[in-house]
């Protein structure tokens, strides 16, 4: 039972989680407040950047990615790469054509 494969997981204290929760709440407030202002094309970019920051916090702290090995981080990059490249290649079509 005592092989070291399952004790490598460091735990965060309660405090860290609460702190992150405050940050997430604050970011939610910001994103709602900012949504009323019209930045033009930047509006959606702002919303997505804030959502990405929130996601980063959830991934690294709540989901303990910070204490995982490199392999896990590479895995996530691979998955994100696949998703993002699909968006990019798809928009090589939709950016240059109007159907309907």
């Amino acid at each position: 039972m005592n092989d070291n494969t399952h004790i490598d997981h460091k735990s965060h204290g309660y405090g860290v989680y609460v702190l992150i929760w405050f940050a997430l709440m604050a970011l939610t407030g910001i994103t709602v407040a900012v949504a009323g202002i019209n930045f033009g094309a930047l509006t959606i970019a702002t919303a997505l950047v804030i959502a990405s920051v929130k996601t980063y916090l959830v991934l690294t702290v709540f989901m303990h990615l910070r204490s995982e090995t490199m392999v896990f981080k590479i895995f996530i990059l691979v998955a994100l790469f696949f998703l993002i490249i699909s968006f990019i290649l798809l928009f090589t079509d939709y950016s240059f054509i109007v159907r309907n």
Binding site: I7, W21, L24, A51, V58, F91, V98
Partner: protein, 206 residues
């Protein structure tokens, strides 16, 4: 049996493998929603005005409230893991129950939100919706399918966490064997992340 040399490795526990498997599963969930986000991006790109107009029908306050509920439930889920790591069984169960209660709160809100839309005659295939321009039909189509699929994941999450509460009570989940709870937590946080993106994309584009 279990004492002989070569069967012990069969029972051998590999927590890294469990987490790896769980993460890979989360990728499939990510890509499942990813397909929907692709749809969303294309249709919004093609119908920016209609999406703005249609989004006015959504209630930003309920949306914000639900976001906060879900973020808080993620917090309690994370705390329940710390609690079990510190061998505090009852505190862990308390936090898990909090998570379930918050998740139920989310679903109740969702119920009223959808209910109000249905009441106004806005639902897939309704005459009122079909009389609107194509962009708005698409917006509500995406709204129902994406939040619906997300809601389904919340329901699955509730069942999963209820099972974890049972396991914790029965001490299947303990201080040095809490991978099941960890996996349920990972799943729950992913559901949260999906919502983090759904929220601004549907409620905040007015």
């Amino acid at each position: 049996m279990s004492s002989s040399e070569h069967t012990i490795s069969h029972v051998h526990r590999d927590d890294v493998a469990s987490r790896m498997g769980m993460w890979l599963f989360l990728f499939t969930e990510l890509l499942l929603f990813g397909g929907m986000f692709i749809l969303y991006s294309v249709y919004r790109y093609n119908n920016p005005e209609a999406f703005h107009l249609a989004a006015k029908e959504l209630n930003t306050i309920i949306g914000t409230f639900n976001t906060m509920i879900l973020l808080t439930s993620s917090l309690t889920m994370a705390l329940s893991i710390t609690a079990i790591q510190r061998n505090n069984k009852s505190l862990s169960i308390f936090f898990q129950m909090m998570t379930v209660i918050l998740a139920l709160g989310f679903m109740v809100n969702k119920y009223f939100e959808w209910g109000a839309k249905f009441h106004h005659g806005i639902y897939p295939g309704s005459d009122q919706l079909l009389s609107k321009p194509a962009g708005e039909i698409l917006f509500f189509g995406l709204y129902y399918v994406m939040t619906g699929l997300h809601g389904l994941h919340v329901l699955i999450g509730i069942c999963l966490i209820l099972l974890m509460i049972y396991y914790t009570a029965k001490e299947v989940i303990t201080q040095d064997n809490y991978m099941k709870l960890e996996s349920a937590g990972l799943y729950w946080h992913l559901v949260d992340i999906i919502w983090i993106f759904l929220f601004p994309l549907f409620y905040l584009i007015t």
